[in-house]
């Protein structure tokens, strides 16, 4: 199974997709740094397990900016293959080959 994990965030001139492997602070603190790579990884499990995995492996600092309890922090939108994860079973969604996951933080200035 390979699923792409992306995080759309603050950077750049367009909504750009930042790899979660980069410093997570970069994603949420508004520092301008364009990172266009993404993480392709082997992963088997559901969204709940993916969040745990991200927290353990990708978030080095301040995980509270990304997760709250066992789900994403309120205010972060999750898209699974460009559809609202609320339509896809949220935490119970079973990841499939070629799935594309996007996190968009709405907690920035407008």
């Amino acid at each position: 199974m390979s699923a792409c994990v992306w995080a759309a965030c603050v950077c750049g001139t367009q909504i750009c997709y930042c790899s979660l492997s980069a410093e997570i602070l970069l994603l949420f603190s508004g520092i301008n740094e364009n990172v266009y790579e993404h993480v392709s990884m082997w992963f088997t499990g559901n969204m709940k397990q993916l969040l745990v995995w991200i927290q353990r492996n990708l978030l080095k600092e301040r995980p509270e900016l990304f997760v709250q309890g066992d789900t994403v922090r309120p205010g972060i939108l999750v898209l699974i293959n460009d559809a609202d994860w609320e339509l896809m079973g949220e935490l119970d969604y079973q990841l499939e080959d070629q799935d594309n996951i996007v996190f968009i933080s709405t907690l920035h200035g407008g």
Binding site: G12, T13, G109
Partner: protein
């Protein structure tokens, strides 16, 4: 298992609307979102044909969506408005550069005239220069006060009849909460209003066409439409108190999506008991801007900056206004209190 659109029952739904719980496909969502803004505009009678309307453009998601939707609705429904973009350049290195570039691209994409007003030309000070003097702690006071007036001054300069801003439902709910928390009754009463009448010279009426649009939908509208926007927080200290209010609101929303509308509804229907003292609205004796004091906030801030006493506008120093107006020197102990703090 893809969910089908509950409106057209043909295409795959891409989002669940927080407002209604409906699942909609892209096309049906775009239509619903736009027509709801149209409904807001028509119901509240925000504009009249022939008016020149300035869209406050920061390059951020809200104002980019606002500019896009205003342009589209003006054509679709024949509002007969003359639209233009107005941007404020605070003079913060690295912060505005990119967002102003975004606004400039928006100008081309939406084919709208753009005017950028800078703090430097309006006040003689850039935010960077102000921060050098006041330090990082208090600069958002300056940033906020100056920004509000900058839009007005820009609007007067451009002779626009109205300004519309990108405030969304989440922003309004958050402001209601903030005013309750701070006990600011005067603002609490005003903050839910969808438009403000002209409050004297130098103040252009404002309105919020996105007042009933949820942030989630604005973000997804921009995302699915691939709108060109820039997103960052002011690098000079985001308002911590507001941050807590926002987090609290988001927590409430995740349990009950209607919380945001409920709070706005509460704010709209509060009435202030007779006999509650309200600040009297007057005008600044120096610049003519609305002010409850002899000098408006930005004139006091400027005076402080120009005299090398940056703390003048921060905190309550109303007693000193008379002295400032008559150009009297301050006593040594007054000066000491207002000197910059060391950082």
């Amino acid at each position: 298992m893809p969910v089908l659109c509950s409106s057209c029952s043909e295409k795959r739904a891409v989002l669940k609307r927080p407002k209604t719980g409906h699942s909609l496909c892209k096309a049906c969502f775009f239509w619903a979102f736009e027509e709801e803004v149209h409904h807001t505009i028509v119901t509240a009678k925000l504009f009249k044909p022939g008016e020149t309307v300035g869209v406050a453009a920061s390059g951020g998601k809200d104002s980019t969506v606002l500019a896009h939707v205003m342009k589209l609705l003006n054509q679709r429904h024949g509002y007969g408005l003359e639209l233009m973009l107005i941007s404020v350049d605070e003079g913060i290195t690295g912060y505005r550069d990119d967002s102003l570039e975004t606004v400039k691209r928006n100008q081309q994409q939406y084919d709208l005239p753009l005017k950028i007003v800078s703090y430097e030309e309006l006040y003689g000070w850039t935010m960077d220069a102000i921060v050098k003097q006041v330090g990082l702690k208090n600069n958002c006071t300056f940033c906020g006060v100056f920004r509000r007036q900058a839009l007005d001054r820009g609007a007067v300069m451009l002779k626009v009849d109205k300004i519309c801003t990108g405030h969304n439902a989440d922003d309004v709910a958050e402001t209601v909460l903030m005013n309750v928390l701070r006990g600011d009754i005067a603002r609490l009463r005003r903050c839910t209003a969808i438009s403000t009448a002209s409050e004297g010279d130098g103040v252009v009426p404002r309105c919020k066409p996105l007042k009933y649009a949820y942030e989630k939908e604005i973000v997804l509208y921009a995302y699915f439409k691939k709108l060109d926007y820039f997103s960052t927080e002011c690098i000079y200290s985001p308002n911590a108190y507001r941050g807590y209010a926002r987090t609290f609101l988001k927590d409430l929303e995740s349990i009950r999506p209607s919380s945001i509308m409920d709070i706005i509804h509460s704010g709209e229907n509060l009435s202030v008991r007779d006999g509650v003292k309200m600040p009297v609205q007057g005008t600044c004796s120096r610049c003519g801007y609305i002010s409850s004091q002899a000098l408006c906030k930005s004139c006091v801030l400027l005076e402080g900056l120009n005299r090398g006493l940056p703390k003048l506008g921060i905190g309550k120093h109303h007693r000193l206004h008379e002295k400032l107006l008559s150009q009297q020197p301050l006593t040594e102990s007054e000066q000491r209190k207002l000197k910059p703090v060391d950082f």
